[in-house]
């Protein structure tokens, strides 16, 4: 994401160890999640995370289109990550591009790692992620939104999938990069965690780190995911709250 008129590299870390938006190195941006944000999907969620705004919808399990993608022993999980043309500074041309296709693939594989797809052979679970406003970390925001949407759609799975990017900027390992840190930093490491097992099902890296830095980044990312996980669970609890009345039953 090139920013127009970019000049010098901004100071990404102050002498006091604070980042350009005043966060500590291991601090997440504010995150808000709404489960059930759309009327016509089987499940949906809307995520505002820093300046990211992302909508996700799940349809299915349903009949597979196109038919040749059908698998005889399990549901096929199809993911489509897409950025709205107006979601970035420089207008993005609508339609498929290689970046979106790669992100769609790794997100689909992350979900295949936790969804009990063999309960629905010969069907499709379609996951749609629309980035409406982008400020670094959209694949993680999209994955979080889609995970809540899958739970909202009643899809059986081992766990929710919290995700976050860790990176390196100003020489420090930092959690949850925003745009300037992504553009001018030294590394970006998005990941998604299965909290129940403590394992990662999405991991990418761009940039460079030492092995010590990577070890630190992994620990920081896992801790960050556990923070996101709580927000995801609360969003679902808010939607499906059971509020017994005075007589305690219907």
């Amino acid at each position: 994401m090139g920013s127009v008129g970019a000049k010098d590299v901004p100071v990404l870390l102050s002498p006091e160890g604070l980042r350009i938006d005043g966060r500590r190195v291991d601090e997440l941006r504010p995150i808000k999640i709404k489960a059930g944000a759309l009327k016509h999907a089987d499940g949906s969620a809307y995520v505002e995370w820093g300046e990211n705004k992302v909508m996700a919808a799940v349809y299915g399990p349903r009949e597979v289109h196109p038919r040749h993608l059908q698998q005889n022993t399990k549901a096929v999980i199809q993911c489509k990550y897409n950025m709205a043309a107006f979601s970035v500074d420089e207008r993005k041309r609508p339609g498929l591009d290689r970046r979106s296709q790669e992100i769609s693939k790794v997100i689909a594989e992350a979900f295949e790692s936790v969804v009990f797809a063999e309960e629905f052979p010969r069907t499709s679970i379609d996951v749609y992620i629309e980035v409406l406003q982008a400020n670094a970390g959209t694949r993680c925001a999209g994955l979080v939104a889609a995970s809540v949407a899958l739970a909202d759609a009643g899809i059986p799975m081992a766990d929710l999938l919290p995700a976050v990017a860790v990176g390196k900027a100003g020489g420090a390992i930092i959690l949850d990069l925003k745009k300037e840190e992504d553009n001018f930093g030294e590394a970006d490491l998005p990941m998604a965690l299965v909290p129940q097992s403590g394992r990662l099902v999405l991991l990418q890296m761009e940039g460079h780190m030492t092995r010590e830095e990577l070890a630190k980044a992994l620990d920081m990312g896992v801790a960050g995911c556990r923070g996101i996980y709580e927000v995801m669970k609360q969003a679902l609890r808010d939607r499906y709250a059971v509020t017994p009345g005075p007589e305690g039953s219907a």
Binding site: H40, A84, A85, F86, S87, R91, E130, L132
Partner: protein, 262 residues
């Protein structure tokens, strides 16, 4: 939730009700669902608006970027309208290249914006023949509960009326300035159900309809675009009556788009 296959029973019921001047959701035949406009929803756009008509939700973002004018109109800016009926918004939309439905929405909205001279394209020109602003109006349907065209133009108009020309960012002027909007086109869509004409159709009403007519009006009393869609036909008398109603509804929607109270 809309059905992928609308049952004949539901269609027949909608038609029976229409014969009695009634609708499934209890509205009158000449009544819109609740309309809301949220301006500035997307800050990465130069102007944006999220429009809801009932359970239809459409987001439009406007972006302005420097570009080259077309050779045959060296003094005019460029306006591009693009609508995406993304599969997130409905079980009936599939991924892939733009479907005819999306293209129709784009083109009908584009015609209304253009014909109404919503923005003065010559004002977008920076250096004749060399540099001009390109104004992209992108429309994203988020939730498809019927009547996409009205929601799409309303969102586009809401985005344009609150757009800023990012002149400073691109080094074209010292300061950014508001995009000047000269006219306020608004579309008003009707369907024919049996012999009854209804405004603002829901998804299921569109499926049951014997013809859809969209009429775009502006605040000066001009009709600036029309589009007959779906299978079916309208009589000239019906069309004249719809035009009258389109102005009444249009004036109310113009207020909403500008941020006024309906």
């Amino acid at each position: 939730m809309s059905e992928e296959v609308t049952s004949e029973i539901l269609t027949t019921h909608i038609l029976d009700l229409a014969g009695k001047g009634k609708r499934l959701d209890g509205r009158g035949t000449d009544e819109y669902r609740k309309i809301t406009v949220e301006h500035g929803f997307v800050t990465s756009a130069d102007g944006s608006a999220l429009v809801r008509i009932g359970d239809t939700a459409v987001l439009s973002g406007v972006k302005l970027e420097p570009g080259k004018p077309f050779p045959d109109t060296p003094n005019a800016g460029v306006l591009t309208t693009n609508a995406e009926l993304i599969p997130l918004s409905s079980p009936v939309f599939e991924p892939g290249p733009p479907q005819p439905g999306a293209i129709e929405v784009s083109r009908v909205v584009d015609r209304a914006i253009r014909a109404a001279e919503t923005i003065d394209l010559t004002r977008l020109c920076v250096t004749p023949g060399e540099k001009t602003w390109v104004c992209y109006v992108d429309i994203h349907v988020l939730d498809h509960g019927g009547n996409l065209i009205d929601a799409a133009l309303l969102a586009a108009l809401g985005a344009l009326t609150h757009a800023t020309v990012p002149a400073k960012r691109f080094g074209i002027a010292a300061e950014d300035y508001p995009l000047e909007v000269l006219h306020y086109p608004v579309e008003c869509t009707f369907v024919r159900l049996g012999e009854t004409i209804m405004v603002d159709p829901t998804f299921d009403e569109e499926r049951a309809a014997q013809g859809r007519l969209t009429i775009a009006t502006d605040e000066t009393g001009r009709i600036v675009a029309m589009q007959k869609g779906l299978v079916g036909a309208f009589s000239p008398d019906d069309i004249k009556a719809m035009v009258e109603r389109a102005f009444v509804h249009g004036d109310r929607m113009r207020l909403i788009a500008k941020g006024g109270v309906a």
